[in-house]
């Protein structure tokens, strides 16, 4: 590590440098632009938004209210039912993804990772395709397919002998949320599939070989050997699903509008946040209450991430492969 000479090298020797000299200018040139944009347009707004949530508008200015907005959000008859409803809907949205999307993703990953599979790349490309479409397009596509007007969805169910079960689900208070969750599942199943696929490929052949020699069935091999080895990925998928859940505004807004109908039955925190701070139709925008809702979302996300880092990651056994 003895780099001598060279004008650019002065004061910039990589590694094991004394740190007592002035901060090297070229490092500053490398990091400053990115740090500036990231700080101004992401970190600052996140903190400033939290700060705003502690204020309430009064007259022309605003006044500090501490946690008053949060108390209002959780208890005021105007806000509380909407807020708790949205939290509940977000949880349903998350649960559907955990129970449907991630298991399907795992099954597809197992199939995709099977030995000597022809056409692996083609399968992977096609299966991941819906994920690259926007929520807007996906929302409209399914809105059309599920539309009783076009009747395509109904006709397909009839072919499967289930014609009698078709309903205009997106317009029904009970099933609309689950239908929307399943649309999102359809779109994003490629993500857990790829992550599980990568984890499965990392398992050495000998492990499976040994289990086979010992007479374990395929099913047993999977649950006793393979699944424990990919458990860390299960956690990654779960936390990504959880955080992604809070970005689902686009789909609901596209299919059901900002009022998240019918009768707010598909209202999630994203749509509630939008209506509250931006205003919609007769409702006037309220930036500080909006900031309060994003603060609550922040708390929910942090709770999930902390649970993942301090409970799941500590408990789960990671095997060095």
């Amino acid at each position: 590590m003895e780099a001598t000479g060279g004008r650019g090298a002065t004061g910039s020797l990589p590694h094991r440098m004394g740190t007592r000299r002035p901060f090297p200018a070229h490092i500053l040139v490398f990091i400053a632009p990115a740090v500036a944009i990231y700080t101004v347009f992401m970190v600052f707004p996140l903190f400033d938004s939290l700060r705003l949530s502690l204020y309430a508008p009064q007259g022309g200015g605003s006044v500090f209210t501490g946690l008053g907005n949060y108390v209002r959000l959780l208890t005021d008859p105007l806000y509380a039912p909407r807020f708790w409803g949205a939290v509940r809907h977000n949880l349903v949205f998350f649960a559907v993804h955990m129970l449907v999307q991630n298991p399907i993703g795992l099954v597809l990953a197992v199939a995709l990772s099977s030995r000597r599979l022809r056409g692996r790349t083609v399968y992977r490309t096609l299966l991941f395709m819906p994920t690259v479409l926007s929520f807007v397009i996906v929302g409209f596509i399914w809105q059309l397919i599920l539309s009783p007007l076009w009747g395509v969805g109904e006709a397909m169910m009839r072919m499967a002998g289930l014609g009698g079960y078709f309903r205009p689900w997106l317009g029904m208070e009970g099933p609309a949320l689950v239908a929307l969750s399943l649309i999102s599942v359809w779109q994003f199943v490629g993500v857990p599939m790829l992550l599980f696929h990568a984890a499965l490929l990392a398992i050495p052949d000998e492990f499976i070989e040994a289990a086979r020699v010992d007479g374990a069935s395929g099913w047993m091999t999977f649950w006793r050997i393979v699944f424990p080895l990919i458990l860390p990925t299960v956690g990654v998928v779960a936390i990504l699903t959880y955080v992604g859940n809070f970005n689902a505004f686009d789909l609901i807004y596209t299919v059901q509008g900002a009022l998240a109908g019918p009768n707010f039955s598909t209202d999630i925190l994203g749509t509630l946040f939008y209506r509250t701070f931006f205003g919609f139709q007769l409702q006037l925008g309220n930036p500080t209450m909006g900031a309060t809702i994003s603060g609550a979302m922040f708390a929910l996300i942090m709770a999930g991430v902390l649970l993942y880092v301090f409970v799941w990651q500590r408990r789960v056994q990671v095997y060095e492969l």
Partner: protein, 291 residues
Amino acid sequence: MARADVWREPLRAPAAVTKEGWGPPGAHLVLGAYVLVAIFPVVLIVMNSFKSRAAIFGEAYTPPRPGTFDLIGYETVFTRGHFERYFSNSVAVTGTAIILIVLLGAAVAFALSQYRFRGNTSLALYMAVGIMIPIRLGTVSILNLSSALGLANTLWSLVLVYTAQGLPLAVFILQLFMRQVPRDLLDAARIDGMSEYRIFGLVLPLVRPAVASVAVLTMIPIWNDLWFPLILAPGEATKTVTLGAQMFVGQFISDWNALLAALTLAMLPVLALYVVLSRQLIRGLTAGALK
């Protein structure tokens, strides 16, 4: 994909079929069935966008044929919508943001992986925080900021927000790859008198695959985003394709030809790009999440 065949199917997969080289039929059955689920809705929309109204409803499942082929939907979209403008807005925003993300992100990644300086670890952590927290939570302040800076209803407000949103993951992935560049090579360049900036220019092409992955990976959410265009730049002059499609389709909800044509137009660029770049995308996604 050196280890692509590591995980094997359950023992029940018939050995004879495996020998023929197609792999386990069970896997093909599962994957084939789900491929249908994944692509059928898209194919249905694209196919019907080229048909007359009667055929869309009468024979939804057949490809367009001479009797049913009709471009009326596209005519409506091109005369009534402003898709060319939406499209060029999206290209401008996404393109500029990607260039900034890759260039500025690579510079930080280079500094983090090449130099040991005060605050190196804290900087890495500071940048990594943004990977998990959705930037949307700061929207109220971003909107204030954008008006305060005079950026309301400009494409620049979108570019800057997307750049900030894309940087954390870009820095994270790029530094993983830059750490693997042989240090001797760079030291040799230093001995030859190259400036640190020239050396950065030397490293960038060496991690080209990672740069491509980052570019594709960050491009998709930017191109597809509805939230920020809706809030920061909803004006007619600054609409992106995603917002334009959302509003257009909302207006033409009863004109099925226009509806299907608009959807097809909005998704074809993304799909075309995906077919070309899917390898980079998939590699980037797995690198980002598992490393």
